[in-house]
């Protein structure tokens, strides 16, 4: 033995919880770099969506109130952004289910670290990955005719809202990841709720084209509000605005629903984390 007794760090200014969370986030980001295939495929799907919707369905979906040639593509891109960040939740689900299966969660739980740190690190890393995803998607969008029409400052706000939404669904995804018994189930359970969540929204078609009761669901769906807020901030066509409150105050409703969802799912996920063990 050459090293002496363990030397403990001074408490960092950011606090132990944040420190531990960043150590875990760093580890999750290293994973992203080491398995570029994973990132690649998580990019391919939205890019395919952009191309499909822009070239195949685009002409068949009229945007009320805007009949410009590239109207649908401009309408579409924020929808794809919203859908993509929502689907990022599945990565949190699968990632945590795998950590659990490998026994890493057991090991983290036996360390004297704060109990929210592993989930905080996971959700932060999964959100940061979306920065790269949104960049690639934006470039694809620009290539097919999408434009930022409302200034760079508003565009940054739009991206920040999208990332906040990504962070929110990452908590929901994490909670599911801790609930499911194995990674195989995780890859199904992590996706299944995202299809209705994203398709019962204004992401691809205007709410005004849906049957009455669906319009209500879609108008109160936070995916619709984050997508609408992004359209407004990017200066893209929004279709005929719905009169429902969330659609009248899209950005505010997005902030409120993210806060409420995090307030519900973060404690649920942390509580589950505290009592979970691998089999």
């Amino acid at each position: 033995m050459t090293t002496g007794a363990p030397e403990i760090m001074k408490r960092p200014i950011i606090g132990w919880g944040l420190h531990d969370g960043l150590v875990v986030a760093r580890r999750n980001l290293i994973q992203t770099i080491r398995v570029p295939e994973l990132l690649f495929f998580s990019l391919v799907q939205p890019v395919i969506f952009v191309l499909l919707f822009a070239y195949v369905f685009g002409g068949a979906i009229p945007i009320p109130g805007d009949d410009g040639a590239s109207a649908y593509r401009e309408y579409l891109m924020p929808g794809i952004f919203g859908q993509t960040v929502a689907f990022a939740a599945a990565a949190s689900t699968v990632g945590l289910a795998e950590d659990m299966k490998r026994g890493l969660i057991d090991r983290f739980r036996a360390l004297p670290m704060s109990s929210g740190a592993v989930l905080f690190g996971r959700t932060v890393a999964d959100t940061l990955r979306q920065v790269l995803v949104l960049t690639v998607l934006s470039i694809t969008g620009l290539l097919v005719g999408w434009r930022i029409n409302n200034g760079i400052f508003n565009a940054i706000l739009a991206y920040l809202l999208l990332l906040l939404f990504a962070y929110t669904v990452a908590w929901i995804g994490s909670w599911i990841g801790l609930k499911v018994p194995n990674p195989e189930t995780a890859s199904t359970a992590g996706l299944i709720w995202l299809f209705p969540l994203t398709f019962l929204s204004n992401a691809f078609v205007p709410i005004s084209s849906m049957p009455g009761w669906l319009q209500v669901v879609a108008a109160w769906n936070p995916v619709s509000s984050v997508v609408l807020a992004a359209r407004e901030l990017f200066g893209n066509p929004t279709g005929i605005p719905s009169t429902a409150w969330p659609m009248q105050h899209a950005a505010l409703y997005t902030l409120i629903s993210c806060a409420v969802l995090i307030a519900i799912f973060a404690p649920l996920a942390i509580r589950k984390y505290r009592s979970t063990t691998s089999r």
């Binding site: 090293t3 007794a5 403990i8 057991d106 090991r107 670290m113």
Partner: protein
């Protein structure tokens, strides 16, 4: 010496299954306790309760003087845990894994760096230190796993079947590491299904089955408990097994066990018993191809305590195994 692990009356249920059924354990400082039991005996559950991962349904446990229920973080500061399956990050390199755990133990970066190099060296992983774990063999992973739990030099170490799945050489290597740690003052609770492992490493052995302690003591006291030496014979004609059993029973001090053409029975009285056995077998007209007197192994202990061998599952014994009753 004081007890650094003390558990009493631990109960843990999973629905219908009672994984721990009033388990009592004590480990004194600087010693190795071998927790021995077959699959499903409750070894992992016991370790998880003591390492604060599971809350027991009943009973109390103190580790390093802290209650696992009410002071889990204090317990966590004193323990290292190596689970039954290597729990390390597949995508990180060996060095990155150790650094991550060092960071999570809140060790100073410079200390983590020095300690990481030291552990990599000690576990013979220096050459592979900068490779992702996906390129590691099972044995390398287990070594890194153990290294990770040593990063903060915990005074108490839980090792859940540390050598399962290792080849004999890696197994001996790991045994040596454990011996060195104990020589440095570490207290170890080790679970195993391998009786020779407990025999080799543990100062004290606790045998559990179905969540309860069925025997404890040193390897020697456990061996004595089943009557010391055993006579083992192989008979030429399997059809004579019953006659052979009758013969052995007349010289044995306990239960005769029969497995096809092999029989064994506990005896006392040293080598004269061999002569008696040969006479008795001869009287029963049983031809013997092999006959030995051997010191009992913990396998025998296990068999006599639980009615089934240690490495076998909890399933009923196969039909070919019949047991004679003792006199």
């Amino acid at each position: 010496m004081s007890d650094v692990i003390e558990a009493s009356g631990l109960v843990k249920r999973y629905g219908e299954v009672v994984a721990l059924d009033g388990l009592d354990l004590r480990v004194s400082e600087g010693t190795v306790l071998g927790l021995l039991g077959p699959n499903g005996a409750g070894k992992t559950t016991a370790v998880r309760v003591l390492a604060t991962l599971l809350k027991p349904d009943a009973g109390t446990a103190k580790v390093a003087g802290h209650d696992v229920r009410t002071k889990p973080n204090a317990v966590r500061r004193s323990i290292g845990l190596t689970g039954q399956y290597a729990a390390v990050d597949e995508y990180l390199t060996g060095r990155e894994n150790l650094r991550m755990f060092g960071g999570l133990y809140h060790l100073k970066p410079a200390y983590v760096k020095a300690r990481t190099d030291e552990l990599l060296e000690r576990f013979d992983l220096t050459a592979a230190a900068n490779r992702s774990l996906r390129t590691y063999s099972g044995g390398m992973r287990r070594r890194l796993d153990l290294a990770a739990s040593l990063i903060a030099k915990p005074p108490i170490l839980f090792l859940d079947e540390p050598t399962t799945g290792l080849d004999p050489r890696s197994r001996l290597g790991l045994w040596q590491v454990i011996r060195d740690l104990v020589a440095e003052g570490t207290t170890v609770l080790l679970t195993t299904q391998y009786l020779d492992e407990a025999d080799q490493l543990a100062n004290e052995i606790v045998v559990i089955d179905k969540g309860r302690v069925i025997a404890k003591g040193t390897a020697d006291t456990l061996k004595d408990q089943i009557g010391g030496d055993r006579i083992e014979i192989t008979i030429a004609d399997v059809a004579k097994a019953n006659s052979a059993a009758v013969a052995l029973r007349s010289v044995s001090t306990g239960e005769v066990s029969i497995e096809d053409d092999r029989l064994s029975a506990p005896v006392s009285g040293g080598s004269t018993v061999l002569v008696d056995a040969i006479r008795a077998l001869d009287a029963q007209d049983v031809a013997v191809t092999d006959l030995v007197l051997r010191r009992p192994t913990l396998d025998d202990v296990f068999l006599s305590l639980t009615g089934h061998a240690a490495e076998e599952d909890n399933s009923p014994p196969p039909p070919s195994r019949r047991r004679g009753r003792g006199q």
